[in-house]
Amino acid sequence: MTESASKTADFRKLMDAKFERRVFSDLLVRIIGYCILGLMTGLLLAIVGYVAILGLGSISFKMFVTVGNTSTGGLANAIVGTWELVGMGLLLSLPVGVFGGLYLSEYSSRYTGGVLRLFVDILTSIPSIVLGLFGYLVLVIELNMGYSLLAGGLTLGVMMIPYIMRISEISYSNIPGETREAAFALGANSMQVSLRLLLVQARVGIMTAILLSISIAAGETAQLLYTALFNNGYTTGLTHEPVAYLTYVIWYSLNQPTPYAHALAYSAALVLVSSIFFLLLLSKYIGRGK
């Protein structure tokens, strides 16, 4: 009897030791995880906070209303140009994305859908500088647009297509089949179902896709360097007239020697990051139910 009691005690000791080790490794992973989470939070605050501090210290109201050339003046032309370029990009990518997504979700067969989706995926994996090179070769040179709103905007649009197409495709597919059947049962044809039912039902998804793609496009530089170049004033024409944009100011002014050029870069970064974060959070807020 004493033997079995000591055996039980031994077993208990063994289990206790094992239990302690297991609890300890759990604690260790938890601590490392919390540390990394804290580190990332700190890093985000460090990056955004630093941009905010530098930007707030150098921004002035005058910058919003005067045009600039990356070392003197303001940011008005760059701000306007950024939205002109993004708007031009949307003009291409919105119809292509929304209706392409509709086709992928509703009309395509398994095989054609797969092939077309593959090409959308390929398009997302083209590095942005190569898209810029493509825009330069095809739009600027071959189609003779020059450095222009059209060339820069279309290059941005090419980049925005996959985001809008895939996200809107998902939001069409999420609409229950019964909704379509109900519409067909009421005598609607497939065009009415697509345009008056699916587009309306998927509007939240499409809206988040648009906001997301705008926020990505507004922060792009590499595609625009050799398609939009830079302009010291406002851009009014479509072709043969370069466009100013914020990311160029950040990149170029930082290499300038004068403090005022640096102030321009910091202010541009502040304007850009705050508008992008606003768009991203807005798209999160709109799509919160999903």
Binding site: V48, I129, V130, L137, V158, G219, I250
Partner: protein
């Protein structure tokens, strides 16, 4: 409308390859083995070589950029991989439910920061810290590791570019891994808890084991993103040419950054050979990043579909 991406891709590839042909004829195989990138002398008469005109004394070799791309991407993965794994585990196991959404939204905000802003932060904040504190410390204390002994030039270089790239790809890698961890069936986790398992044991035996494919796929997607990243790397890598890195402190350059940096002066070349060489560089970059991206999508995507079936 869904055919538009296909059409764009066809036009893109045909234009790129058509424009790369002169460079392929001029440089031949040397393009892959040489690390000298010399635009040539634009004011001398161009020479004819292999039937194509090129500036006098020009030579194009992608090796230094290729090596730089690979080293900085590898560095970025070394940073991003463990961080993303631990982030996903923490978000799925230890974070209180109420904080889960804010924290994953925070990780996504990293993806929203434009690459020039990362570059700006790298130049102003990271480089001075690296130059004055971290790199001297590494040099004195870690020089026994091969590649850690060398001249500290400036804060820019492999470490800065790798760090920034690592931070930039964390959101995408984390999103893929965390998403697939969250979609693991509740019953699996409950089974481990019912056996008296700790949270880490759920993480190790269920979350990590069942998402190995998505972890690999997500990492490949991050690799693809790091390969093509341009502006941030251009700003913090030092953007040197004709230099192969000798240590981890070396300045470097990548294929994408070289295209952005050199296209400006390539326009002056009347023979067009400089542009053609950059296009060839772009074609190779596209091929590499396509392989990484499509492989990642294929690996993670199939497993994601399987996850749907198990749901």
């Amino acid at each position: 409308m869904a055919v538009v991406p296909l059409a764009i891709m066809v036009i893109l590839f045909s234009f790129l390859i058509y424009n790369a042909i002169p460079s392929m004829r001029y440089s031949g195989f040397d393009f892959f083995t040489s690390y000298i990138w010399n635009p040539g002398m634009f004011y001398r008469d161009p020479i004819m070589y292999h039937g194509v005109p090129a500036p006098y004394k020009s030579s194009f070799g992608m090796l230094s950029f290729f090596v730089g791309t690979m080293i900085t991407t590898a560095f970025a993965l070394v940073i991003a991989f463990p961080v993303s794994i631990f982030l996903s585990l923490t978000l799925n196991l230890y974070t209180p439910r109420a904080l889960r959404r804010p924290f994953s939204a925070m990780v996504e905000l990293f993806a929203g920061i434009p690459s020039v802003v990362y570059g700006l932060w790298g130049v102003i904040v990271l480089e001075p810290i690296l130059l004055h504190r971290i790199e001297p410390w590494m040099k004195t204390n870690l020089s026994f590791i091969p590649g850690f002994s060398g001249e500290v030039f400036s804060g820019a270089g492999i470490i800065a570019a790798g760090l920034i790239l690592g931070i930039m790809i964390i959101p995408i890698v984390t999103a893929v891994i965390s998403e697939s961890m969250a979609s693991q069936p509740k019953e699996f986790k409950e089974g481990v808890y019912a056996l008296g398992g700790t949270k880490w044991e759920v993480g190790r035996h269920i979350l990590l084991r069942n998402t190995r494919r998505q972890i690999a796929g997500g990492t490949l997607l991050g690799t693809g993103r790091a390969l093509g990243e341009t502006m941030a790397v251009l700003m913090v890598s030092g953007a040197v040419v004709n230099v192969l890195p000798t240590s981890i402190f070396s300045l470097t350059n990548t294929m994408s950054a070289q295209i952005a940096a050199a296209l400006d002066s390539a326009f002056i070349d009347a023979t067009g050979m400089n542009i053609s060489a950059l296009v060839e560089l772009g074609v190779i970059l596209v091929v590499i990043s396509l392989i990484a991206n499509l492989a990642g999508r294929a690996i993670a995507g199939k497993a994601a579909l399987r996850g749907y079936e198990n749901d």
